[in-house]
């Protein structure tokens, strides 16, 4: 029963990937192959390329990648909270409870402190 639910998804994956593969294969089979000198060089508006694109250069926003990891893990924690929220809001004796809201308030407060720190350190800006 559990695995049954995945069969249509598996079929969808096979069909989507198969169709994509078919398009790529058709294009490679049908399309012409011509060799011309200009095609062997990366496009840079007609001038000859200077240096390699693999050379070192300054990547702005590299800190954002690190921040993304942290905040996305936070998001991964929030999804279980969201789906269990109804259960967390009911007191064991019946009646409403603020337990679920309380834990999220604490969690978001920590996140806000972190965001403020990052903001003040100018990790999200250009300079």
């Amino acid at each position: 029963m559990e695995l049954q639910a995945y069969i249509p998804a598996g079929l969808a994956v096979v069909l989507a990937v198969g169709f994509t593969g078919l398009l790529v294969a058709l294009a490679v089979l049908i399309g012409p192959k011509r060799i011309a000198g200009e095609k062997e060089v990366p496009y840079e508006c007609g001038s000859d390329p200077i240096g390699s694109p693999r050379a070192r250069h300054s990547v702005r926003f590299y800190q954002v990648a690190i921040l993304f990891l942290l905040f996305d893990i936070a998001a991964a924690v929030m999804f279980p909270w969201a789906i269990l929220y109804d259960d967390l809001s009911v007191h064991p004796d019946g009646g409403a409870s603020l337990y679920g809201f309380g834990i999220m308030l604490v969690f978001v407060s920590v996140l806000v402190v972190a965001l403020t720190y990052v903001w003040r350190k100018k990790a999200i800006g250009w300079d």
Partner: protein, 316 residues
């Protein structure tokens, strides 16, 4: 449902999306023409309606050039990834009660988020594998933009999950029978719409492509069907995001009088028109403005939305 029936449903949904994408390309070009005081495509078929078909045939018969300086295997796979993931995201969308590939799936929402994240790889890898400076810059921009906007794309849906109590998209639509979530989750709706625009790299978020500064950004070196896959993948992405906004916030198939499928298509088409209007009406922001906007405005709004939703649900 039998396996044969499932295959028919999958082919109908994916085929429908592909035809809609072709129609969308024509509609967008005609509308842009109208708004920019020119004709747009009007030669192939009545009103140029067969133009996308002609383009597809042309792209198939053009050379699919993978340059010798590129990383060939990655270069070939990258456009296929965005096309396949965009098609697959549609699998979790319930188009009408009981019709959808895996609409009842209890991980539907997470599956969509996973596909959206995988789609981002395509642009980044395509930009890197091209081994051209413009492509690399486009790919780097795509990386930073995706990383930033993916965080709140997920979080803006947490409010919907709290209200519906389920990850299943069919369940979320059924929970909106009385009230569409666009009302209690208005902030979530706005953030998801913006994150969706960023995810599909449409104006005003087309910085990875930005043809006025980076030639064509990440797909500068692409040609033939590989370019076509990037191009159609973008349009299928718009359809997917519109269908998902309809599902999460606009009540999916719910509506009076007309059949459910018609309501679903109608809402999706209106959202697609909004996406086209955005492209015609909005300028492209500077890159640091884009990033600052995401982290300093949208992320706090999302967190506030989550807390307010929690408070309203918990307090009787």
């Amino acid at each position: 449902m039998t396996t044969g029936g499932q295959i028919v449903v999958i082919i109908m949904i994916m085929g429908g999306a592909l035809s809609l994408a072709a129609g969308l390309i024509w509609v967008e070009r005609r509308l842009l023409g109208l708004w920019q005081d020119r004709y747009g495509p009007n030669r192939v078929g009545p009103f140029g309606i067969l133009q996308p078909l002609a383009d597809a045939i042309k792209l198939l018969f053009k050379e699919d050039w993978s340059p010798p300086f590129a990383d060939r295997s990655v270069f070939l796979i990258a456009p296929a990834v965005i096309f396949a993931t965009a098609l697959l995201s549609l699998a979790v969308v319930p188009v009408a009660p009981g019709i959808g590939v895996v609409a009842e799936w209890n991980v539907g929402l997470l599956f969509f988020l996973a596909m959206a994240s995988l789609g981002a790889y395509s642009v980044i890898l395509g930009g890197w594998a091209s081994n051209s400076k413009y492509s690399l810059l486009g790919g780097l921009r795509a990386a930073a933009q995706m990383l930033s906007y993916e965080v709140f794309m997920g979080l803006s849906l947490a409010g919907v999950v709290v209200l519906a109590g389920s990850f299943s998209l069919a369940e979320i639509v059924r929970a909106q029978a009385d009230l569409w979530y666009v009302v209690p989750q208005f902030l979530g709706f706005v953030v998801f719409l913006i994150a969706g625009l960023a995810e599909t790299r449409r104006l005003p978020f087309d910085l990875p492509e930005s043809e006025t500064e980076l030639i064509a950004g990440f797909h500068t070196e692409y040609s033939g069907m590989s370019f076509g896959l990037f191009f159609v993948g973008e349009y299928i992405g718009i359809i997917t995001i519109s269908a998902l906004i309809t599902t999460f916030f606009l009540g999916g198939w719910h509506g009076p009088l007309l059949p459910p499928l018609v309501w679903f298509l109608l809402k999706t088409l209106v959202l697609i028109a909004v996406f086209v209007l955005f492209r015609a009406a909005m300028p492209r922001p500077r890159f640091d403005q884009l990033m600052a906007w995401g982290w300093k405005i949208l992320l706090p709004i999302t967190l506030i939305n989550l807390l307010v939703t929690g408070a309203v649900v918990a307090l009787p």
